[in-house]
């Protein structure tokens, strides 16, 4: 009963958060000095042509009406224009991309595989390597391996993603020629090529993120290893592997999982720079292209999608707490 109430409360909270995000994003984009109809007007753009473009795209009404039309489209779909050339955006309609003649939701779903492939693969690598190196550093505190690991971690934390990507592609793709230079192969077409094309993006992203996890894990592990229950476990004669692996690590993982949920959520919503550098058409690249082309419907749709993923991941992390820590379970 308490679990059901918790879930319902959280879902209601998520909906409110999403509504606020949608409203604020909408307001920001539409109050900005920009006019999507101007891009669809043609050249030269006469006042008559601009007016017709605005009317067709639904931008000829006040902003609050546009917002309500947008929300209504999510539940009941929308139609732009009339007659034979009318464009139907089926529910849930997250907007229509007039520059590319496609529903925004279709654009996002077409690209989810790429973003999820990049994000999950990188997340597995950075979680294992980050936590592993963090534990190793904590256990070898003050020794060379600790110092080297933390120095590398510091480099990863402080390096801009663009620089890391360009260094990675320059060394491994151009100088050594051991990995593909760019592109993406669907896992359904060729799983081996899928992984091969993703190796470098995974490693670059993992390098950037693992650093945070290594430092976080090390700090938590050093603190946990000083706790009374660890001394008790050792006094009971448990092996060091069991003390660290079963008792200490479980405590260490709680904050790690919290950060991981947020990071993975953000990454699933698009690895902007990585996708751009490696020429992968994911959700992140969709957003970058939309910003470059001032494609407001796509910017709005992707922002809403990102907010949805991040809030869902937070919710999933909360649920996972219960599995990891009995004290957090709802009975």
């Amino acid at each position: 009963m308490r679990t059901a109430k918790f879930v319902l409360t959280r879902v209601a909270g998520m909906i409110i958060v999403l509504l606020i995000v949608t409203f604020v994003t909408f307001l920001v984009f539409y109050v900005l000095p920009s006019d999507p109809a101007q891009l669809a007007c043609g050249r030269p753009c006469s006042p008559e042509a601009l007016s017709l473009a605005r009317e067709f795209m639904g931008f000829n009404v006040p902003w609050y009406q546009q917002f309500l039309d947008f929300l209504g489209g999510i539940f009941s779909g929308r139609t732009f224009g009339t007659g034979a050339t009318a464009i139907h955006c089926t529910a849930p309609c997250f907007g229509y991309d007039f520059q590319n003649n496609v529903e925004v939701l279709t654009e996002i779903t077409d690209r989810i595989e790429v973003s999820f492939s990049v994000a999950f693969g990188a997340a597995v690598i950075w979680l294992i390597s980050g936590v592993g190196l963090g534990v190793l550093s904590a256990l070898r505190r003050g020794r060379p391996i600790d110092r080297i690991t933390m120095a590398v971690a510091m480099a990863g934390v402080s390096m801009p993603a663009y620089l890391a990507g360009m260094i990675g592609i320059t060394i491994f793709a151009f100088a050594l020629d051991v990995v593909p230079k760019n592109g993406y192969v669907s896992i359904t077409d060729d799983p081996a090529q899928w992984a091969w094309h993703l190796v470098l993006p995974w490693l670059v992203l993992a390098f950037l993120h693992a650093a945070i996890y290594a430092r976080l894990t090390r700090g938590q592990m050093v603190e946990t290893l000083g706790e009374d229950f660890i001394r008790t476990a050792r006094a009971k004669g448990l092996t060091e592997t069991k003390v660290v692996g079963k008792h200490a690590l479980r405590n260490v993982l709680l904050p790690v999982i919290t950060v991981f949920g947020v990071d993975l959520g953000a990454l699933l919503a698009g690895t902007v720079i990585t996708e751009r550098i490696f020429g992968m058409a994911g959700v992140g690249k969709l957003l970058v292209d939309a910003i470059a082309g001032m494609n407001l419907p796509v910017m709005l749709g992707v922002t809403l999608f990102s907010a949805l993923i991040v809030t869902f991941m937070n919710f999933a992390v909360d649920l996972f707490y219960g599995a990891l820590d009995p004290r957090a379970r709802l009975t």
């Binding site: 920009s34 043609g42 050249r43 006042p47 067709f56 760019n182 058409a281 690249k285």
Partner: protein, 564 residues
């Protein structure tokens, strides 16, 4: 001719010769021998690497020049013949000639060639050209070049053929071969306008769907086999296209693959690296200044760099509605105060790569252009002369508090800083206001009373006619509302001159009138022409026939091929 002019002429010739050597050394014409052996022949796959996330193949929505990507798929009534060192000429494409004007330029008649076929094998009729144009009036298909619209339906009274099936009665198709246009006013450049994308045929009754551009019925050398937004497009041979009949396109490659949405730095790296499929690849984006430095230090890459001899006019608009700038004598001081040499360095690192100093509004490569310089000065300007002019205009202490607006992309902030420093030498103090492209359009081109004194921009005409150089930038109808009359000149004499020149159907007479307007505008000093901006492109070692004409400053996609 003064000494400085001679020096400039010699320098210009030397620069052009150097660039042409660099540009053309590795570009093998059809049948010639490439530096690595082999000739450009039919066959092979050509890759186009582009940073753009999409490629528009819908003729109604496209604003492509006649020589770039759209020409691979669609033909138009007329086309352009481009060649290095030569002015661009109008030539027939689907039509048998470049159009016949009658009724003082209000009526234009074109006749289609025999045996023309769409990619699906059906014959191309005059009604299909008419349908394509009618379709471009539908609000759902706006976005392309619109020069024809106001001439065929003033005020956009016509809303397209789809709802109610109404035809555009200003276009007549008495038979399958003939198409007659009845314009609202005389227009001498209508045959140039007939080379814009909307004049590509669309089978009558088709193309109502919004994504028609993803699977268009083609008339050019290639069919669109596949198109994926943000990823790529594959073009394969159109078996119904005839290389012997189409004299403007070579159609050498068997297949053309677009790789969309690539990072520009990675495109440059791939092309410099020149391995695998990238040996037959072409980089569509202009090579950025930082990459030019890298390329010029690499002999292999340098031999594959092609640079235009001219290009878009970079210019500084002087807002004639603001304060002292309303006085032409004050504006003339700006012609001498600006440091064009510094602008060249800020643009591309060197004058050679940036482009020749500009003194006219009509750009090189436009037939009938006359080169003149009303304000002779060294490329770095003549600040002392500027100070004298300001003093004569009652401003012995110079000018203060001017706002220079520009964009935040394409090195514009650096270019604006070069302008600011140049003007400061003559006592003109300027504050730079940098806006993103959209905000710039809203502030400078849309508002009624925008807050700027100077605007830094560039202009590439859509058609090789002086009309396209002058009218959009200086006719009073182009002030605000999305127009680009950024000097906000509202001069009845200039407006009358523009309408008069547009009405002339005699190219020599029209050219004379446009040159007169060029001189008048320069006398009024409403803009400071800066440079004719060169564009540089990089390609793989197994591509040849790279042609960049005097206009436009883009590679001619119709000529290139794979070296076999």
């Amino acid at each position: 001719m003064k000494g400085s002019q001679v020096k400039r002429l010699i320098a210009g010739v030397a620069v052009t010769a150097t660039l042409l050597t660099a540009c053309g050394a590795n570009d093998t014409p059809s049948g010639g021998t490439a530096n690595g052996g082999g000739t450009v022949k039919a066959g092979g796959t050509l890759y186009i690497l582009t940073d753009s996330p999409s490629q528009q193949f819908d003729p109604a929505k496209s604003s492509n020049l006649v020589i770039t990507a759209l020409s691979l798929v669609h033909r138009r009534l007329t086309s352009w013949s481009v060649a290095p060192g030569k002015d661009t000429e109008i030539v027939p494409d689907l039509a048998t000639d470049t159009g016949k004007a009658s009724d003082g330029g209000k009526t234009w008649t074109f006749t289609l060639k025999d045996g023309l076929k769409f990619g699906d094998g059906t014959p191309i009729k005059s009604a299909d050209v008419k349908w394509g144009l009618e379709r471009s009036f539908a609000p759902a298909f706006s976005g392309g070049l619109t020069y024809h619209k106001d001439l065929l339906s003033p005020g956009l009274a016509y809303k397209g053929p789809f709802d109610g099936g109404k035809e555009l009665d200003t276009i007549e198709t008495p038979d399958d071969k003939t198409i007659i246009f009845h314009l609202a006013r005389p227009y001498g450049d209508f045959n140039w306008v007939a080379s814009t994308p909307a004049f590509a045929p669309v089978p009558k009754g088709k193309g109502a769907e919004a994504d028609y551009g993803n699977h268009p019925v083609t008339s050019g050398p290639y069919n669109v086999q596949s198109y994926e937004r943000g990823k790529g497009a594959t073009l394969v041979r159109n078996p119904n296209w005839s290389a012997t009949e189409d004299t403007t396109r070579k159609g050498y490659p068997d297949k053309i693959e677009f790789q969309l949405g690539q990072q520009t730095a990675v495109i440059a790296k791939r092309l410099i690296d020149d391995s695998g499929n990238d040996q037959t690849a072409f980089g569509a984006p202009f090579v950025a200044p930082a990459q030019l430095v890298q390329i010029t230090g690499n002999p292999s890459a340098k031999s594959r760099l092609v640079t235009s001899e001219s290009g878009a006019l970079a210019y500084l608009s002087l807002n004639v509605t603001r304060g002292k700038l309303a006085d032409p004598n004050v504006r003339k001081a700006f012609q001498y105060a600006v440091d064009k040499a510094a602008y060249q360095v800020a643009s591309a690192g060197s004058p050679d790569l940036a482009g020749e100093v500009a003194t006219t509004l009509i750009t090189p490569g436009i037939k009938g252009r006359e080169k003149f310089d009303l304000y002779p000065a060294p490329p770095a300007g003549d600040p002392e002369k500027a100070k004298q002019l300001l003093a004569q205009a009652g401003l012995p202490n110079g000018l203060d508090g001017l706002v220079l607006v520009t964009r935040n992309e394409n090195s514009y902030p650096e270019k604006a800083a070069a302008i600011q420093a140049g003007l400061a030498r003559a006592g003109i103090k300027v504050t730079i206001k940098t806006l993103d492209t959209d905000a710039y359009t809203q502030e400078v081109d849309t508002k009624e009373n925008p807050d700027y004194d100077l605007a830094l921009s560039s202009w590439q005409p859509d058609i090789p006619s002086a009309n396209a150089n002058i009218q959009p930038l200086f006719q009073s109808t182009e002030i605000g509302g999305g127009g680009v009359n950024e000097s906000r000149l509202n001069d009845p004499d200039i407006d009358k001159g523009i309408i008069d020149a547009q009405s002339s159907v005699d190219p020599a007479d029209a050219a004379k009138k446009w040159v007169e307007l060029d001189k008048k505008l320069m006398e009024k000093s409403v803009v400071v022409p800066l440079i004719y901006t060169r564009n540089s492109f990089l390609h793989g070692s197994k591509l040849g026939n790279f042609v960049i004409g005097k206009f436009p400053a883009y590679v001619d996609y119709r000529q290139w091929g794979v070296i076999q």
